[in-house]
């Protein structure tokens, strides 16, 4: 039995009322890739931040290569040979790649010799691990994939033997993600120990040697990857059986609710993003808009949601809706019974520094139910929030937490609860499960289908084809501001949709 590269014993950490880690123990063998999987908010990042000295544990011990090590700050972690690539990169954007790598690991008071040495070592590291970067480019000039390589090189430059990566593929394209795992494989073969935090089952199954599962701050299992399967891991993560497919009965489309004719949208830079599209959404059906991001889907949602003006005509239940001027803002749209779960919940759906119960009011804050004389009836609002939190299983169930202290999935549940519970005629949903964990995805999908079954119209925009396929009753594909065609999910496949998404014309162009 070899000495573990890392051993954590009984780590606990609380942030105010939230117990992020509860008595966690874990042991990682040297020269392996160890996955830590769990839903958003399960405490994975907190645990690794403790190992890197970014947070300090309330209780517990850290052992590195068989000796007990105190890690009060990141400097101590670096000295122990630990490097970390955070989910949000810690790079100085207007510095060059080289400057970022040298920062904090300079050799003396003057920069020039440090930079020269780093340039030389960087070349060797690049060749050794096939991690190519341009040392003289500024960080804001390079893409996220290369930024991530800079972070890895930063750790290697500091002689890291243990590398922690927090949600490394969240910002990467599939091709970049494949490349990343090739690099990690290479690092493993050089004897480095790697810990990867993720909530994507596929990545765990394909790339790790062992995997630990976390749920609500606790470590529920550590298993050899070869001896498990995705279903079992998903169950361990969520604590119950998970439906990886949405269960739904065939749609019963009724009368048209939303009728779009010749809708065009021009953005603030004067570029036409939506180019005269026609689309109808009927009561009791989910219409999914597929497409590569940036082909006008966002602008379509924003016009319908009252976030930007457009030209053309839209009718809701036969009544024309204004597309600019009075009656076309978000407030008016909600009065017209259109609810909107925007694509970017952190910028458009929530105010991150406000309490959950305040966020539940937005867009509906003029509701007489929340009014008492001249003032807001905050007590009524809080009671309403509590009911929504319970119904949508928001965790932790505390309306007095700010939006940013919830995990992504729970933030999204707050937005979805606010919009769905208004019983709208039309629900607009943009990227409902972006950055959301499996348990919450399943829950949110169920809510959307339930709303459909009540006979409401739903317009879904998603860049995840899998999501489009499992939710939609009808699929429209957008490319370059046009709708390339409409398909029924049963009569098409990913290949055909992929061609439409790439602009290869179908029946309608």
């Amino acid at each position: 039995m070899t000495v573990p590269a890392i051993e954590l014993k009984g780590i606990s950490k609380a942030f105010g009322p939230v117990q992020a880690n509860k008595d966690i123990s874990i042991s990682v063998a040297p020269g392996t890739i160890h996955g830590i999987i769990g839903e958003n908010g399960a405490g994975k990042s907190t645990l690794m931040s403790i190992l890197y000295g970014f947070y300090k544990a309330d209780k517990g011990e850290i052992w590195i290569n068989g000796s007990k090590t105190d890690i009060p700050d990141s400097q101590a972690a670096i000295a122990s040979g630990i490097g970390m690539v955070f989910q949000h990169f810690k790079l100085v954007e207007n510095f060059s790649v080289l400057e970022n790598i040298v920062l904090g690991a300079e050799d003396g008071g003057l920069l020039a010799p440090s930079l020269a040495k780093a340039r030389k070592e960087l070349k060797e590291l690049e060749e050794e691990y096939e991690l190519f970067v341009d040392p003289d480019k500024r960080i804001d000039e390079i893409g996220v994939g290369m930024q991530q390589r800079v972070e890895i090189l930063k750790a290697l430059y500091r002689k890291a033997e243990i590398l922690i990566l927090d949600e490394p593929t969240g910002v990467l394209t599939p091709a970049e993600a494949d490349q990343l795992f090739r690099i990690l494989d290479r690092l493993r073969s050089e004897g480095k120990t790697i810990i990867v935090i993720t909530h994507k089952l596929r990545e765990i199954m394909e790339n790790t040697d062992t995997v630990s599962v976390m749920r609500r701050g606790e470590m529920t299992a550590t298993v050899k990857t070869a001896e498990t399967n995705p279903q079992e891991l998903a169950e361990l993560m969520v604590g119950r059986k998970v439906l990886l497919q949405v269960d739904k009965v065939p749609a019963q489309p009724g009368k048209p609710v939303l009728e779009i004719e010749k809708l065009s949208v021009t953005d603030s830079a004067g570029v036409e993003r939506v180019k005269g599209i026609d689309l109808t959404v009927r009561a009791g059906e989910i219409v999914g808009i597929a497409g590569v991001a940036g082909n006008g889907q966002s602008e379509l949602l924003e016009v319908l949601g009252g976030m930007r003006p457009g030209q053309g005509s839209i009718r809701l239940n036969g009544e024309p809706l204004p597309l600019h001027g009075p009656g076309s803002d978000g407030q008016a749209r909600r009065a017209q019974h259109i609810a909107h779960v925007p694509e970017d919940r952190q910028r458009e759906g929530l105010i991150m520094d406000f309490y959950a119960w305040e966020n539940v009011a937005f867009g509906y804050h003029r509701d007489p139910a929340y009014k008492r004389g001249l003032f807001m009836d905050n007590a009524a609002l809080r009671a309403d929030t509590e009911a929504k939190i319970e119904k949508f299983d928001v965790r932790p169930p505390n309306g007095w937490l700010t939006a940013k202290s919830f995990s992504g999935g729970n933030q999204q549940k707050i937005v979805v609860a606010r919009e769905i519970e208004r019983n709208p005629d039309l629900l607009l949903v943009g990227q409902p499960t972006r950055g959301v964990d499996i348990g919450a995805i399943e829950f949110i999908h169920k809510q959307i289908v339930a709303l459909r079954d009540q006979g409401k119209a739903i317009l879904l925009v998603s860049v995840e084809l899998e999501e489009i396929f499992s939710l939609s009753d009808r699929i429209a594909v957008m490319f370059d501001g046009h709708i390339m065609g409409e398909r029924l999910p049963a009569e098409t496949d990913e290949k055909e949709l992929g061609l439409l998404m790439a602009g290869v014309a179908g029946e309608a162009a």
Partner: protein, 322 residues
């Protein structure tokens, strides 16, 4: 020829008037590059002006006065650091408090100490910084063009003027050629990057604020013991704020800061030199000329001079995200 003499005189006075602005501007540059906004430059200068004049008057030594000025300014810097770095308070409020504190305290202490209506006694002899004359300054005075430039414009300033202008290349070198400079710039852009690289954010920011205090101290001492001979109430007259405007105008870069301060100094020098300008019947009153630097400040701050992007983490106390 008369025009040339006037020009040299105006430029000479420009250099002298730009000096306190330049020192304060560089002070602000260190602080803001590290992510700590400092609108308390004015207060620190004022406090330093008073203590340098008071100690110089009492001891007769301008050097002790300079030290006292720097010390007083450092105390206020420490206060600003404590409020905005250690206790993560609002940097603007802390700066405003420092300005009020300095404005009230200086007059109060001056009155109870010297009983001269809130001034210090006039400084003379060793209590003031004397001009330094370059070698052969007098001998070369008669040489056309080069003579006046050498002996009037370049020679004959107090040592602090030369210190201030030497600080421009020095600051550039520190900022862009040393480890400290790299870390300083990084902490103003993304303190989390510095923290995860194993460097103390708090330590760096305190160092920056301390340098800011020293430079403000020199600026204040220059006002009271070199530019003028003693402290008078509110003698900084908004120079701390003009220095901030110059800093924004210069987009937080040392050489640009020097040119910006020289521009403001030139306006002040013109106002001083041409009290009433007669434009063929229409007389521009002296008040308009005096107001020019302040008007330019407003124009610059209103953003007519292109987009100035401050250090990204400026004004934000560093809290590990959660």
């Amino acid at each position: 020829m008369e025009f040339f003499v006037t020009l040299i005189q105006v430029l000479d006075s420009t250099v002298r008037l730009a000096t306190p602005l330049l020192l304060a501007c560089l002070a602000g540059l260190y602080s803001e590059r590290a992510g700590i906004f400092d609108i308390g430059l004015e207060g620190k200068m004022l406090m330093a002006a008073f203590f340098s004049a008071a100690i110089a008057a009492v001891t007769g030594s301008v050097w002790l006065g300079l030290l006292a000025g720097i010390g007083a300014s450092l105390v206020l810097s420490a206060l600003h650091g404590l409020a905005s770095i250690t206790f993560r308070g609002n940097q603007l409020i802390s700066g405003v408090a420092i300005n009020f504190l300095a404005s009230g305290m200086t007059v109060l202490i001056a009155q109870s100490w010297f009983q001269q209506g809130g001034r210090t006694p006039s400084l003379f002899g060793g209590g003031r910084f004397e001009p330094i004359n370059f070698p052969f300054a007098e001998a070369l005075e008669g040489v056309p063009f080069i003579g006046p430039i050498y002996s009037e414009l370049l020679s004959g300033h107090s040592i602090l003027v030369y210190v201030a202008f030497l600080f421009v290349p020095l600051t550039w070198w520190i900022l862009f050629r040393t480890r400290f400079g790299l870390r300083l710039r990084a902490v103003g852009e993304n303190p989390a990057a510095v923290d995860t690289a194993g460097v103390s954010v708090v330590g760096l920011r305190f160092a920056a604020v301390a340098i800011c205090g020293i430079l403000c101290g020199i600026a204040g001492a220059y006002l009271a013991t070199a530019l003028q001979a003693g402290f008078v109430k509110e003698m900084t007259a908004g120079r701390g704020f003009i220095a901030l405007a110059a800093l924004i105008f210069a987009k937080w870069r040392p050489w640009h800061a020097m040119w910006a301060c020289l521009l403001f100094g030139l306006l002040q020098a013109i106002a001083l030199r041409f009290q009433n300008i007669d434009l063929g019947g229409v007389v521009i009153p002296v008040q308009v000329m005096d107001a020019l630097p302040y008007i330019l400040t407003v124009v610059i701050l209103a953003g007519f001079v292109g987009k100035a992007i401050p250090p990204r983490a400026g004004g934000e106390p560093y809290v590990k995200e959660r």
